[in-house]
């Protein structure tokens, strides 16, 4: 029953600002209410802090081998004990956070933009190019991700950099798929037609108007994927196809400790717990982000 009256610019701006503020406030309330997500966020913040202040937190040099001190049980001197080469496991776990974060961030930084560009381009241009790009992504999706990553890691040779490339290669198709689907949904919307009729170039429409529409779902997917990326990296490390000794990578450390499993359980298990906790943190946060961005959640 209310008619739309012309609203002056200031009023429009005020309302927009208010809507944004309310959105943020709702997000905050949802975040607070989702206790699991609070836990997840705390874990990630903790991980970031540990990585940032690793030199301060570490009690020993993470590479220094003191052979007489090998395989010591956890104590006040060595919180997590020492490994087969007499290195302090606690310090290595602390420094390992940097390796894990580096891998996760670089994979995200490589695979999402790649997938986004390919997906938006394929969806927007359509036709044969779309068909070719999507068949290509089908082929990549036909491999289980870990197998593809392992194959590429093996082919490229072991090492952290190659592991990052390998995981990115395995990951981009799902982002491309998602971006394409979003693009198809948006492409024929009236407002895109309006922008086009105003003379915007295709590139401008793709970059300025379609890509931003895909971002939120890509971010949700990425945040849900972060845990898997870390698990894959650790798996590569465990198999000897990822980070190489003496890098303090958690998966590699679990693998190193296998030979001491029965009598020196801490060598293998403690770095594994670090992986579990961090992956759990990312998964909790990913779930939470998805829930918060989900409009259905806001009603209740």
């Amino acid at each position: 029953m209310n008619v739309t009256h012309a609203i002056d610019k200031n009023e429009a701006r005020r309302r927009r600002w208010e809507a944004r503020r309310r959105y943020l406030k709702d997000s905050y309330i949802l975040w607070r209410r989702n206790r699991l997500m609070v836990v997840g966020t705390c874990i990630i913040v903790f991980l970031l802090l540990v990585a940032a202040f690793a030199p301060l937190l570490a009690t020993h040099d993470s590479y220094e081998q003191i052979l007489p001190d090998r395989l010591l049980a956890p104590s006040t001197k060595h919180y997590f004990g020492t490994d087969g080469l007499g290195r302090d496991i606690y310090s290595r776990v602390v420094y390992g956070s940097r390796v894990t974060l580096t891998i996760a961030c670089l994979v995200a930084a490589i695979s999402t933009p790649l997938g986004l560009v390919i997906g938006v381009f394929a969806g927007y241009v359509g036709g044969a190019i779309d068909e070719i790009l999507m068949r290509l992504s089908d082929v990549f999706l036909a491999f289980p991700k870990l197998i593809l990553a392992i194959a590429f890691a093996a082919a490229l040779g072991p090492g952290v950099e190659n592991a990052i490339v390998a995981i990115s290669v395995a990951n981009w198709p799902s982002y491309a798929r998602l971006a394409r689907a979003e693009t198809l949904g948006v492409r024929n919307n009236d407002y895109i037609q309006v922008i086009r009729s105003m003379g915007a170039s295709n590139l401008r429409i793709m970059v300025g108007h379609i890509t931003p529409m895909c971002l939120s779902s890509i971010i949700v997917r990425l945040s849900l994927d972060m845990g898997t990326i870390i698990l894959t990296a650790a798996g590569l490390g465990f198999l000897g196809l990822g980070a190489q000794p003496p890098t303090p990578e958690w998966g590699l450390m679990v693998s190193d400790g296998r030979q001491f499993l029965v009598d020196q359980w801490w060598v293998s298990t403690l770095p594994g717990i670090a992986i579990l906790i961090v992956v759990m943190g990312f998964n909790l946060m990913g779930d939470g982000i998805r829930d918060i961005l989900d409009p259905h959640q806001r009603q209740s």
């Binding site: 197998i147 082919a155 698990l231 679990v254 298990t269 998964n283």
Partner: protein, 337 residues
């Protein structure tokens, strides 16, 4: 429906060709000279050259690719550098063990995962829901290789409840190989001692993979169930006077399980890849361990053959899943054409 199947088969063939191209590409980017590892470091130059000609590595890429495709079409996957046997024979030997393990794990995940997901959605925010969500969270977050080690440490080394890694006690003789799956073969041979021992051996690795699988399944069943429960037709069912049990079983369940089928297919793929790590830990003589060794030693033909087979399996599983999906969902027959 037939048209739909044909269309899916056609895309599967295209995908298969793509898989072959990708695996060929993988074998190309290998920076190390695999010949050096076959011939050994001290091999004279001419031996290496002879091998190079023998394996065709001296030809231009397109010729190599042509030969490669030709070989594949004749189901010739080449010879494994490691075992010295045809890769196909190796695969035939190792694959059933993996199928046995992955299927066992899938059964565990389905039997536990689906009811857990349903209960979790129906009794949202109850104790069951919290338990199931925490369990699936741990399941998806757990590094499988770590869980495998921990279970081995506790249940084999410390408690001794389960036998050592491997498929069968070394004192027992394997039954006649029919399917290659010990649990099946032993039943066929009516050798229940072997069956019981094989069952004990499979429990730990299947539990490791199963936890991973059930986590994914419980999560998706929960969310699709929640989605279905908020649909209008569920309200219709309540208006008609159905009690909650009938609303769930007759109206919600089938709709909720349709997306779950897709995830079960994906889970099977996930279990296949998880087997690489799990088999390594449990000394399970399956394709996963074979592949892991092949990757580490750059046994190229084995890498290519094994990867291709896994991708093929994965694609086939997806095809089957799509068909089941189409069968369960009456809408698909129309929208597909």
């Amino acid at each position: 429906m037939l048209q739909y199947i044909l269309r899916r088969l056609f895309t599967l063939i295209i995908t298969l060709v793509g898989i072959m191209v990708v695996t060929f590409f993988i074998s190309l980017v290998v920076p190390l000279d695999p010949l050096a590892s076959i011939a050994g470091p001290q091999a004279p130059q001419e031996t290496v050259e002879r091998l190079r000609t023998l394996y065709g590595f001296d030809q231009p890429i397109y010729v190599q690719f042509g030969r490669y495709m030709q070989r594949l079409l004749h189901a010739d996957l080449g010879t494994s550098f490691q075992t010295g046997r045809p890769v196909l024979d190796d695969i035939i030997q190792y694959f059933p063990a993996t199928i046995e393990l992955a299927t066992m794990a899938l059964i565990v995940s389905i039997i536990i995962g689906i009811p857990l997901g349903i209960l979790s959605a129906v009794y949202r925010n109850s104790a069951v829901d919290h338990f199931s969500r925490v369990l699936s969270l741990i399941g998806v977050s757990m590094p499988v290789f770590w869980l495998g080690l921990v279970l081995l440490l506790i249940f084999y080394f410390k408690l001794g409840w389960f036998p050592e890694p491997g498929r069968l006690d070394i004192m027992l003789i394997e039954p006649e190989r029919i399917t290659g799956m010990l649990l099946v073969d032993s039943v066929i041979a009516l050798d229940f001692e072997v069956f019981w021992d094989a069952l004990k051996h499979i429990v730990l690795p299947a539990a490791v993979l199963g936890l991973y699988g059930l986590a994914g399944i419980a999560r998706i069943v929960r969310s699709s169930m929640l989605d279905v429960l908020s649909q209008e037709y569920i309200k219709t069912a309540r208006i008609k006077g159905l009690n909650e049990f009938l609303v769930l079983t007759r109206h919600a369940l089938r709709n909720a399980l349709v997306p779950a089928v897709t995830v079960i297919g994906l889970t099977y793929g996930g279990l296949l890849e998880g087997s690489v790590l799990t088999e390594t830990i449990f000394s399970w003589p399956g394709l996963g361990r074979y592949l892991a060794t092949a990757f580490l030693t750059l046994d190229l033909n084995a890498v290519v053959g094994g990867t291709m087979l896994v991708a093929l399996m994965f694609s086939l599983v997806n095809l089957v899943v799509d068909l089941i999906y189409a069968f369960l969902n009456p809408q698909i027959t129309l929208t597909a054409s």
